[in-house]
């Protein structure tokens, strides 16, 4: 019962709750939103225990959706509602359901206009995000991928900062550009496989099994998938929507953007782009280019973050750097590096989410995101300063925090296959330390020289309730990541094997 319906419940419940919020009186909106997202979390939590690490796809639910023999052949094009999770998507689902209630709680005082619409959109967004991570039918995946755009577009465009309209439309058009090409690639894939097997199906495993050799077309199909996911990640030359969207979005929007939406790109690589077209993805020129772009992302993101006067923009660029580690980890293709990449995905959601919350909290007090507007506030708001320091250290990757485990695994794993790249990436950690510590120094240390900052109130219990779960996760993953690694290991292993058949691995990786 639970196994069959849990994912559907996770998909449907937020949408239902969103409708309820729209109907209920406005003053209930935020409380309803919080309760609904907590229930969503409660539905998801048992996944942690019921999930069998070695079980492959689990909690599968499958029902026909659209089945029409489209073109003369008589064979139906079958589109199913198929959902399921494995060791990769499980954590994305858990992360989503964890971050959403915190985002709702974190928006209590930030959002003061059109509350009903805001919380309803946040919940619809949750449905879309869960849908992306659990969809096992490419049509469903595409629909969810696009559906989640609209609520985010509204959240940025209605409740965002000063140049929110520009940021919203840029975000929308960039994402849509990539995803529409992906749609064409999906259709071509289904058609090619259908011609060969006589079954025109969007089913993920059907396509995986029957792809075979696509010849030169494979490169273009991969390119279409790559573009869609690389824009979402975002990889280096496609990242320009990100600073705008992150900075203009309201706090919860930034948290969800950074925490979850960016992971959809890397998730897409892990689930679709690389397993579908391993020959292309691992062809030397493509591989070199992607590894190089990841490195550029790590260093460029870090260096640009260093010179940002705006704290929120600094965090936005740090995301580019962190996601560079994920891409490097995926392409290094060793068990450690892929597990590390998955872990960085989770960690980035937690740490960067917490950083965005913290910036949002101080912004609510002082109405400035500029680093220069602060200084020495550790004396005024010690609790805030302590948590900011702690979270920053985890984002840097200090041993004992979650950030260390993820990046360390990526570097160790990558060192076996791409020693030079791993060496360059390691300097990215140093850059991260530089920009975050320097920012910390300017914000919470230094002399307290601005009179406006002398009366800042410290964190409220509600804000602590938002931050403490994240802090707990930081410590937990930093100290004892084994339960997580155990659950993701078979999936990571399977990913590597699906890309590179097990036989020659050992010899192939030694250059």
């Amino acid at each position: 019962m639970y196994a069959r319906w849990v994912l559907t419940a996770l998909l449907v419940w937020p949408a239902v709750a969103a409708v309820a919020i729209l109907i209920a009186p406005p003053r209930w909106a935020k409380h309803l939103g919080f309760v609904a997202s907590l229930i969503e979390f409660a539905i998801a939590v048992p996944l942690w225990w019921t999930f069998v690490p070695s079980g492959g796809m689990q909690f599968v639910c499958d029902a026909p959706w659209i089945q029409v023999p489209l073109f003369g052949t008589g064979a139906p094009w079958s589109i199913h509602y198929t959902v399921g999770v494995d060791g990769i998507s499980l954590f994305m689902v858990l992360l989503t359901t964890l971050l959403v209630p915190l985002s709702v709680l974190g928006s209590y005082s930030y959002i003061t206009t059109r509350e009903r619409a805001y919380y309803a959109l946040l919940l619809v967004l949750t449905s879309g995000m869960i849908g992306v991570f659990v969809a096992l039918d490419l049509f469903l995946f595409y629909v969810m991928w696009e559906v989640m755009l609209i609520p985010m577009y509204f959240i940025i465009g209605v409740w965002g900062g000063d140049s929110r309209l520009y940021a919203a439309i840029k975000f929308f058009i960039y994402t849509m550009f990539g995803s529409l090409l992906m749609l064409v690639a999906i259709l071509a894939l289904v058609y090619l496989v259908g011609q060969r097997t006589g079954i025109f199906s969007f089913d993920y495993f059907h396509l995986m099994r029957n792809l075979g050799d696509l010849g030169p077309l494979a490169f273009w199909l991969f390119a279409a998938f790559f573009l869609a996911f690389a824009i979402k990640v975002p990889m280096f030359p496609f990242h320009t929507w990100l600073p705008d969207a992150h900075v203009e979005a309201p706090t919860a929007g930034s948290v969800i953007l950074a925490g979850i939406l960016l992971k959809m790109g890397t998730y897409g690589f892990l689930r679709f782009a690389v397993p579908f077209f391993p020959a292309v993805a691992l062809a030397p020129p493509v591989e070199t280019a992607i590894v190089a772009l990841s490195l550029v992302g790590i260093l460029y993101g870090g260096l640009v973050a260093m010179v940002q006067p705006d704290f929120k923009k600094l965090i936005a660029y740090s995301s580019v750097a962190h996601l560079g580690f994920v891409m490097l980890g995926i392409w290094a293709l060793t068990l450690q590096s892929v597990q590390g990449a998955l872990l960085v995905m989770i960690n980035h959601g937690i740490s960067t989410g917490a950083l965005f919350f913290l910036v949002g909290m101080i912004y609510e007090r002082r109405h400035s995101r500029l680093i220069a507007a602060y200084g020495g506030i550790a004396r005024v708001v010690p609790l805030f300063a302590a948590i900011l320091t702690f979270v920053s250290l985890s984002s840097i990757g200090l041993p004992g925090t979650n950030g260390f485990v993820g990046e360390f695994l990526v570097l160790v794993g990558a060192f076996r296959t791409h020693p030079v790249a791993a060496g360059i990436a390691a300097t990215g950690v140093i850059v991260a330390a530089a920009y975050l510590l320097w920012a910390l120094q300017r914000v919470i240390f230094n002399p307290l020289d601005k009179p406006e900052n002398e009366k800042l109130p410290d964190l409220t219990p509600r804000e602590l309730a938002v931050l403490l779960p994240l802090v707990a996760c930081i410590v937990w993953i930093g100290v004892y990541p084994k339960p997580i690694l155990d659950r993701m290991e078979p999936a990571a292993r399977q990913f590597i094997e699906s890309v590179r058949p097990p036989g020659p691995t050992a010899t192939a990786i030694a250059p």
Binding site: Q67, L70, F71, E146, V147, M176, L181, L183
Partner: protein, 517 residues
């Protein structure tokens, strides 16, 4: 039910929908001759029109239910009896009915107490049905003329408006010109093949009678002229110049009718002529390919620069003509079903958008800028929601029928080996986000300029009904398109005679309701 079109009884049966509508149009003319002064008369004429459209849809349904087919006769038939005709008939009748519903309020508000308006709509619809069902170039041409003449008058029905006169005149001049091209094309095709019957032409072309020496060139020139003529009617680039001014100057319900029904009829005729008569001629594929690309690119790029909602929608309809041309280029097999589905979705979203625009505007709506919609969401949340759904559907966003339609066209194009066209379609769709989204942005994200900004906005009960039908249809077919896809597929075999196209009808019987109503 097999109809032998050489016997007059069966021919009359095959023409039943057209005959019903013609009879009604005579009743309507008679009625108008006696009562044509007050608003009540206008309403009466409107109700009679609705009854006419409904009973005609019933006649079409009767033929469809009995799976009527023409017996293969040696004589060239004048009218086709196939599902393609029935489905397009429902589409035209549905578009006409929604337009009439939309007009009740509009005509009274603009003081256009002219009951002939409804008679012209009926005549235009009759013309469309002949275009969608004509199996002979002459019938297609007659239908086109009947349609065009009625719509010329409709465009200028507001005699007090200079813009309306300009629109009617421009439309008339260019439309007459296009008809000339078309007629000359028909003459040349007749010269090359010795017939105007579509199937007979196909047989001649297939047998190589039109080929060889001068005949081949003559046929090619004739086909090119036909394409130019239809290109004008469907507003393909570079024959689109009349669109913005005509759409802009006509009364909004007429614009809605032109953008949905008239365009659909021209496309249906184009599709039938190309698919049925000329599928063996390779030349048009390339021409349509370029027409499609040019139409999508130019339509979308110019729409991007528009500030007025009506002009933006006019250019967006040009862009959508490009998407439909992609389906035409995909060929009769896979293309026609995609084409039919997209026509339905397109009709719903265009009518919905224009209905909402009609509610917002005053005096011809020339002046409703996109920014004038600012803050609509706070004042009229449901209208804003409906317009947002229409915009997202025009954009081809998942969850709406526009997406399924675009997806279907993409699938048809990829399976026809037209990957390049599919890529062009999606890239230009991205451009279209640049002008559909600002409408949503204005409504939801910009503050109301003043408290009175949206005071005059009234849709009326019937207008609400139209918008509700459109939005509900868009959302329903966006999530559950199965039945409509099935209908489009069985109806979509307008190519060379395909015997397998006799469907198991009963299972699909409920599917056509939204378009037929």
């Amino acid at each position: 039910m097999i109809l032998d079109l050489s016997s007059s009884r069966d021919l009359l049966l095959a023409l039943l929908p057209e005959l019903v509508l013609t009879a009604w149009s005579l009743v309507l003319l008679l009625l108008i001759a006696w009562r044509h002064r007050t608003a009540a008369d206008l309403r009466l004429a409107g109700c009679v029109t609705l009854a006419a459209l409904a009973s005609t849809a019933g006649a079409v349904w009767w033929l469809w239910w009995h799976a009527a087919r023409a017996a293969p006769t040696p004589l060239a038939a004048m009218i086709a009896v196939d599902d393609f005709r029935f489905v397009t008939d429902w589409l035209f009748l549905g578009a006409a009915a929604l337009t009439v519903l939309l007009s009740f309020n509009y005509l009274e508000r603009e003081q256009l107490l002219i009951p002939e308006y409804h008679a012209l709509i009926v005549f235009a619809t009759l013309g469309m049905m002949l275009m969608g069902g004509g199996d002979d170039l002459i019938v297609v041409f007659l239908g086109l003329e009947l349609l065009s003449v009625s719509v010329y008058v409709l465009a200028g029905i507001n005699r007090k408006s200079a813009a309306g006169a300009e629109a009617a005149f421009k439309y008339f001049l260019l439309g007459a010109f296009a008809s000339g091209f078309l007629l000359y094309g028909i003459a040349l095709v007749y010269g090359a093949t010795g017939t105007t019957g579509l199937r007979a032409i196909a047989a001649q072309v297939g047998a190589g009678a039109g080929g060889g020496g001068g005949g081949g060139t003559m046929l090619a020139i004739g086909l090119a002229l036909l394409l130019i003529g239809f290109g004008f009617k469907v507003a393909a680039v570079p024959f689109h110049m009349w669109v913005p001014d005509v759409y802009d100057g006509s009364p909004t319900p007429v614009t809605a009718y032109m953008a949905s029904g008239v365009k659909a009829a021209a496309f249906a005729a184009l599709f039938r002529v190309l698919g049925e008569a000329f599928s063996a001629v390779a030349a048009w594929h390339e021409i349509v390919w370029w027409l499609a690309v040019a139409t999508m690119v130019v339509g979308n790029l110019i729409a991007l620069a528009q500030r007025a909602v009506k002009r933006m929608l006019a250019y967006s309809s040009v862009a959508h003509a490009g998407y439909l041309l992609v389906a035409v280029a995909a060929g009769p097999g896979p293309g026609s079903a995609a084409f039919l589905f997209y026509l339905v979705a397109y009709t719903l979203m265009t009518l919905g958008a224009f209905a909402l625009l009609a509610a917002k505007g005053r005096q011809g709506e020339r002046d409703v800028l996109i920014d004038d919609l600012a803050g609509l969401a706070t004042r009229h949340p449901w209208l804003a929601f409906a317009l947002a759904v229409c915009m997202l559907s025009l954009l081809g966003f998942p969850g709406t029928a526009g997406f399924i339609g675009k997806w279907y066209i993409l699938a048809a194009a990829t399976s026809a080996g037209q990957g390049g066209l599919a890529a062009a379609l999606v890239l230009t769709s991205v451009i279209s986000a640049g002008y559909y989204l600002p409408v949503i942005m204005a409504m939801y994200m910009k503050p109301e300029p003043s408290a009175e900004a949206h005071v005059g906005m009234r849709l009326g009960r019937l207008g609400y009904a139209v918008v509700t039908v459109c939005v509900a249809g868009l959302l329903f077919f966006g999530v559950r398109p199965n039945r409509l896809l099935d209908l489009a597929r069985t109806g979509g075999v307008a190519g060379p005679p395909a015997p397998e196209a006799i469907p198991a009808a009963p299972a699909v019987s409920a599917a056509h309701a939204p378009t037929a109503r």
